[in-house]
Symmetry: C2
Subunit: 228 residues, 2 copies
């Protein structure tokens, strides 16, 4: 499948690596290709510069957001939440019309340090903002409740734990669920939260994600819903 991943950071790289390894035709979209390739320093999380990462992923093309929008049958938003709406706008509503837009971003406000607060919460969410910004796209919120290592390799954490999907379009959720299965998520680990409003729930969970991470000193965990 032709897939476009928006965002060159840790999450974008992890998803691109995994989906291209599975045989998908993946491009990565960025705001400014030259600027992204010109970086020579690790980012704030210690990830190597993109140009260095790309050397080990020669099949993956880096393209402007709009070109990524043209390429992808499925478009994955893996940008930082604070940049997501601008990235979606640059990708283009016309390019996204009718397509599945898998939104993995968290609207983190890191200006006051860790743990972060959210730029939108409680009565709205980034997922809903994105759906309103591109009403003809079929937005599915998923994967935003864990470290990138767990997103693309559920076995990174042993045992049964969950990934959530939320979106208004049932067929779009089927497409995302199918991709999640390909990645390695067991069918009964994928929990459908209903419409895109469910993005509030998983984005707000990030407060517990970061607070738990600080308490445990690691992000090597995931959340599970344990049923009676």
């Amino acid at each position: 499948m032709k897939i476009a991943v928006l965002g060159t950071g840790m999450v974008g790289r992890a998803i691109t690596d995994r989906l291209s390894t599975l045989g998908h035709d993946v491009v990565i979209g960025t705001r400014d290709v030259e600027q992204t390739l010109a970086r020579t320093e690790p980012d704030w999380l210690g990830n190597v510069p993109f140009a260095q990462w790309q050397q080990s992923h020669p099949a993956v093309r880096l393209v402007p957001f709009a070109d990524a929008g043209v390429h992808g049958q499925v478009v994955v938003n893996a940008t930082q939440g604070a940049s997501s709406l601008a990235a979606i706008e640059a990708t283009g509503a016309a390019n996204l019309a009718g397509k599945v837009l898998l939104d993995t971003a968290l609207p983190l406000d890191l200006s006051q340090g860790m743990p972060p607060t959210l730029t939108v919460a409680n009565t709205d969410s980034l997922g809903e903002q994105i759906q309103r910004a591109v009403p003809e796209a079929r937005v599915v919120k998923s994967l935003n409740t864990m470290l990138a290592d767990v997103m693309v390799n559920p076995g990174h954490v042993p045992g049964r734990h969950n990934v959530f999907v939320a979106g208004d379009d049932a067929d779009a959720k089927k497409t995302v669920t199918s991709l999640l299965r390909e990645i390695g998520w067991p069918d009964d680990a994928i929990l459908d939260l209903g419409g895109i409003r469910g993005a509030r729930a998983t984005e707000m969970y990030s407060s517990l994600l970061f607070t738990t991470s600080a308490a445990l000193g690691t992000f090597d965990f995931n959340v599970a819903i344990v049923r009676k």
Copy 2:
């Protein structure tokens, strides 16, 4: 131990029942004793009127909030979040000074139906508001991430799942942890999130709690943090 439970609803009754069964000397505090006893209709959740409940719990005295504050060595806030600050004020800062105040409430705004939003979130929490309102009390947020049946009977949901504690006073957290163990929470299921700011994390998780409940059609589940 002398324990005061504030709130005559589902959570207050469940905690009172469990702690008195364990041998503690428990009173329930309410705003207006006569009014509480005068109710003859089930509440909005279908719980029987308090007077009927009390017939099966003759050892439990119903007292005004202030009297409950005098009685309790540990005070449990089990009021609805929207009423919690008023209940704490009525209980009295002097009565609460130095005491452990276990806050189990969620600041739910149910005015727009289900799932609820929160009256405070993201950059503040009910737990922090309560700690600021009674700075001499030692507030511990806990048990607010699950149905009352699970709070007082972890075995209601099989397998390993978690309960969180957050509070600024380490000794107060030890007291609460000890009560949780008595209730039946295994030691390694009790996850310490650090200071009272962690109340944000567990209160915001309630969005996922209610959204998951709507998706599954039940509250008979609990959250687990699954580690690598």
